[in-house]
Symmetry: none
Amino acid sequence: MTPADQPVFRQSPAKRARRADAERNRAAIIEAAGAVFAEQGGTVDVREIARRSGVGMGTLYRHFPAKEDLLATVLEQEVASWLTAAHQAAAATEEPWQALTVFFEQALDILARNRALVESYAAAGPPACAPRRDAVMDELRIRCVNAGLLRGGVTTADLVLLLTSLSQVVQAADDGHPGQWHRLLRISLDGLSSRHTEPLPEPTLHADAPGND
Amino acid sequence: MTPADQPVFRQSPAKRARRADAERNRAAIIEAAGAVFAEQGGTVDVREIARRSGVGMGTLYRHFPAKEDLLATVLEQEVASWLTAAHQAAAATEEPWQALTVFFEQALDILARNRALVESYAAAGPPACAPRRDAVMDELRIRCVNAGLLRGGVTTADLVLLLTSLSQVVQAADDGHPGQWHRLLRISLDGLSSRHTEPLPEPTLHADAPGND
Amino acid sequence: MTPADQPVFRQSPAKRARRADAERNRAAIIEAAGAVFAEQGGTVDVREIARRSGVGMGTLYRHFPAKEDLLATVLEQEVASWLTAAHQAAAATEEPWQALTVFFEQALDILARNRALVESYAAAGPPACAPRRDAVMDELRIRCVNAGLLRGGVTTADLVLLLTSLSQVVQAADDGHPGQWHRLLRISLDGLSSRHTEPLPEPTLHADAPGND
Amino acid sequence: MTPADQPVFRQSPAKRARRADAERNRAAIIEAAGAVFAEQGGTVDVREIARRSGVGMGTLYRHFPAKEDLLATVLEQEVASWLTAAHQAAAATEEPWQALTVFFEQALDILARNRALVESYAAAGPPACAPRRDAVMDELRIRCVNAGLLRGGVTTADLVLLLTSLSQVVQAADDGHPGQWHRLLRISLDGLSSRHTEPLPEPTLHADAPGND
DNA sequence: CATGAATGAGGGTTCATTCAT
DNA sequence: AATGAATGAACCCTCATTCAT
């Protein structure tokens, strides 16, 4: 009760109190928006998000000046937290190929439950996250290359494209065929193994004819 | 004024003229809708389609009671014509594996130019076409199996899922990296080759797609 | 009942029927908007106009893609009809000075009952109408000059500014003092008479000090 | 911590500090609001004022329960300070007619730089100031009347209306024709001169403004 | 008392669908 | 049967005002 025990932070309590509440609201909005976007995609009515967050429209727009800002924030946060987990999982896995496999499994597991995230991949994903994602995937690739496990000529861009490709399939396939994408993932990853020595088509010369043997 | 010039079918000429006109309108609508949906996806304003078809909104809605009906019709027609071409190409290609490759190349080439078609794949495709598509793909699969080229345990559902997966990537990647999907296709198909003998993950229950015994 | 009596206009009736209805709606919108804008100014809710026109929002926006377009159309139409009447009145009045007086009386009478119109004068008026208005006023000015009634150096721009100036006062003053602006108009017009021979301040050199005698 | 330095009033120091703070806040709000209203008119967002004053919304609304109260206060204060200056200038000017001219020049100069002030004139001005303003203008009028310079029958209400009228024109005309209003002022004042002996139109009943016997 | 976050009733605008002609 | 104008429920966003801290 005496002011003696807060000798250092004089104005902090008030400021922090407000901040805390606002931050709680902001978090609630992000969480609700995350759920709603995941369920219904990026086209949902903003009111639905406000309702689920338990805040008014004004609060929502105070934190995110436009719907798109909210969507971007949510996506970036989700991607960031995914990448953190992915990085840890990769570090914890000795075997390079298994690390790569786990990475894809984990990513697709998340994507399978998030419509907005998948939608964002169709539009090349939230740009801010791409570098970090590419870094994580690059590391996984290098490890496989160094272990002689990865097919020659496979770039990180190829891996990203594979992820994009698979991301779009986890939801469609989950209607009635849950988990079928695991098979497709296995097939694709096998196609990446060093068992295949044939060169891949050049990325720059988009040849319509398939042959390059 | 007298109906003297149509002695046999009294109301037929009018009806027939109507029919012909209606059919021409229907075709115009489908063609315009096809172009518009391909360019802009399934969310375009219906007015745009009416404008490009040269018909009024009423006519459009007489032929297709809802936007979605029009979309479904257009997609089914496009898929049908694709499958016809695909079937012919497959019949004309001796080598089973190349037939499979050509099939995918051709399909993705079409999908790369058609936003609505790609969107439809995210929603499991126009249902009415699935059986025929599955039949065509099943035949390709069987040929590869019989030639000992296809990995054991690969189902037609797997191939469909692969197509779905790749379909989503042909447009996204075409920004800046046109044709990069050719590499991914090659990788995936290689993953399907009989070089790989490891069993694929179980489809986890109820598979509706054609079998693979 | 026989088609003999419409040998010439075959497709016209249908087309014209629709047009007529749409035109009636358009007119209803403009009229309602005119009334509402006049009463409440340019900030009224578009819904209020739709309600008073008896049309839906869509109809309103079909005819006027944006609220501002509607406002501009209404104002231009009102100004145009005013100028037509003003031109006729001017032509019908022999005496140049009385013609000028009548012009101002008429104009201010209209402005006194129209908030939006007055508002538009604060923003230099609907641009499209200015030339015609200036032409009408220029003619009035010339007549007075030729008759030796107008003070030397008075430009049309001065007259326009006078109109603008008085326009803003007809409503404010009408609360409790209806018609008081007639006195001010008389005073201002008297200041324009050739009885005054002192030169007016130069328009380009905006001198803050008043003296130029 | 001890209230030793204010031995007489025990709770005063806090209260007085509060009061001083509150007064400083109030002044800051009024100043910021004055600037903002002058620049952007009365429709500005209240947040803008809070921001420029450096106070929170709550403080602003504590001092002024509604936006309109703030606007009224600001306007009244500005008008009051203007009237003080105007009164001094009038007293310092020997010549009655020049005093009147200077009054208008000064007033319009102020109005030219203050959107909200001009807007308020369209709505008959901040009511609380009218009496004092009328008094100042009445005195100017009387001086001119006594010197035989003013046209017969000109009331203070006429002068007020002239000011109102001109106020609306100083901004509109300043786009491209800065200072053009000086010409209009000259014309109007000339119309007020005793050179004109024709009677003005009757005020049509109930005049609230100071008389002109 | 100050703060500034929260509120929510509108405001302008769009577009799938219906309906009078 | 064709036309395209009409409908109106939503949608995204703003801002004067209130209220918890």
